[in-house]
Amino acid sequence: MPVIERAYREYQGLKSPEWSRFLIIPRHAYRDVFRSKLFTAYFALSFIFPLLCAILIYLHHNVNALAIMKLNVRDVLPIDAGFFEFYVIFQGITGFFLAMLVGPQQVSRDLTNNALPLYLCRPFSRTEYVVGKMSIVILLLSTITWAPGLLLFLFQSYLEGWSWFSENIWIASAIFLGSLVWILLLALLTQAISAWVKWSVGSRAALLGAFFIPTVFAGIVNQVFETRWGNIFSLYALISNVWAGLFGTFVRQTGQIQESRNGQILREVIMTEPPLWASWFMLFLICAACLWLLSRKVKAYEVVK
């Protein structure tokens, strides 16, 4: 109907599938997000490291190039689990700052403008809203973490051969799972903080605080009690342990304190990291807490008792 007719009429056309409606939120959010030059520039820069990794993998398999540069990259930097673990850590940190730019304003903006009734009066549930908002961070971070990571793995497999691929296929699952855990944690944290801290600068600071303050606290606990169990309070230590566990580089004993006098050992303390399951469990608890915080705030209207 042409707009000039200006009459009310019912809609009788096709409708989009219900399962896909949560994707409407990220699709519209990216229009706004990519309007920021700072964000677009940072997002583009996030692909530099994967590109460098790809060049490194290529050099590993290009004998002529190595001969010209007189380098022995194969021995200096082998392409193994450690290489991909470093990739996941580096891109994880890059993703953290990306999430910090995008995430904290998503829910807070809707809460400030009372937009939630507009979402929830439609065939669109609270769960779909939260999943939709999380997808903004999840999809963005996926494009700079596990997706290029898996491409690097496939590139290495292509150059190295089938046997390397079949022997190291577990690295691919470690890249995917390790990145996904991190992305989910970031998505939940940013949305939970966004729901409770409406001021965007404040919520970004809160996200930074959520990583650095518990890490400092964990350090103090570790120092005072001569232990490594304080690490269960540190998000950075928790995710590092999980990554190390996935890439098979996790070591429980990470330090030793010895006090000796005249060659005689008076006291010996072996510093052991909390077990891997404790790190997974703590991450699970943090995610559950974020979901609970979100459920408290994501409502059409708050009932003031």
Binding site: D32, A115, L118, L120, R122, F124
Partner: protein
């Protein structure tokens, strides 16, 4: 005045349209405090006015029907679907214009309305087309590419109406749609609500504390008081129902007539040389007035019933509301 309980007991009277909203002993409590108390009734009108003083539960009723608040007991059905178990299905048939300022920041108006249409299930292309149509319909055609943050209060109200109708719902809840509008803007809003009503493609529930808005748009009214439903009636029928208040236009000497009518126990007030108002008392009929007029040699040229205004109906409901229905 029609009793809602009576309407509820009448399952589906012949010739009547099927109910839009059926309230089945619906109660809602917040923190143990009852807000809506056992509402019963079947609302059938194309345009239903939801009236009541502040805090009567109008907005809570709308929010409960939209599934924002769970009922503490009882339930309600919209087009036959239960709000407890079929909320998603109900929401796909509903449009909602909230009372408070509600929009999504940093979006142009057409983008906002299109986004809302997509959330209602319209594919992107259809959503965009309908967004343009809806914005032209509400009169924001020229301003549709402007950012919502730059809109005046009146324009924001229109944008809210556009997002409520963009997906062509069968039932539209309008919560205080004329809030903050100047008189011309208010008139435009009322005109649009009437146009939607007259299109016959959507039913309307209009919540307002402004009686004039309801009077101009609605066929039926539902009055809430302290969380109870005190009146549900057809506005036109209710206006005509008051057969006690008469207005007379006469010729001849009024004095003997007035004295005789007073002696019958009826209240009488002369408004001009030939006009007077009479309130009939119990046991007095109109034919008694004609008889007295004949005796006092007064000609009754015109006799009309004074129709109750919505204000009269509302005030009566507020006075008698405690009796409950």
């Amino acid at each position: 005045m029609a009793s809602v309980a009576a309407a509820a007991n009448d399952p589906q009277p012949k010739g009547k349209t099927p109910s839009v909203i059926a309230l089945d002993d619906l109660s809602v409590s917040f923190g143990g405090r009852p807000i809506l108390k056992g509402l019963r009734g079947e609302l059938r009108g194309r345009a239903i006015g939801l009236l009541g003083p502040n805090g009567a539960g109008k907005t809570t009723l709308i929010h409960t029907l939209l599934g924002f608040h769970p009922p503490s007991s009882g339930t309600a059905r919209i087009f036959g679907s239960d709000i407890r178990g079929e909320a998603n299905q109900i929401r796909s048939l509903i449009g909602y214009m909230p009372e408070r300022d509600s929009f999504i920041a940093k979006m142009s108006c057409v983008h906002f309305v299109r986004f809302m249409a997509e959330l209602s299930g319209l594919p992107p292309a259809a959503a965009l087309e309908r967004a343009h149509e809806a914005l032209f319909f509400v009169g924001l055609g020229e301003a549709r590419y402007r950012n919502l943050d730059t809109f005046s209060l009146g324009m924001k109200q229109l944008a809210k109406l556009a997002q409520a109708i963009v997906h062509g719902p069968r039932l539209i809840f309008l919560d205080e749609p004329t809030n903050g509008l100047d008189p011309p803007a208010r008139q435009r809003m009322i005109k649009m609500v009437r146009e939607i009503r007259d299109s016959g493609q959507a039913d309307i529930v209009l919540s307002s504390h402004l009686l004039r808005d309801v009077e101009e748009c609605c066929e039926e009214i539902l009055i809430l008081k302290e969380g109870r439903l005190v009146v549900y009636c057809n506005l036109e029928d209710e206006r005509k129902a008051n057969k006690k208040f008469l207005m007379l236009e006469t010729r001849g000497d009024l004095k003997p007539f007035v004295t005789a009518v007073d002696s019958m126990g009826c209240e009488c007030a002369v408004t001009s040389d030939h006009r007077l108002k009479v309130i009939l008392q119990q046991g007095t009929e109109i034919r008694d007035l004609y008889r007295v007029a004949a005796e006092t040699q007064l000609q009754i040229r015109r006799l009309t019933y004074k129709r109750d205004s919505l204000e009269d109906i509302f005030l009566k409901a507020m006075e008698n509301g405690n009796a409950g229905y």
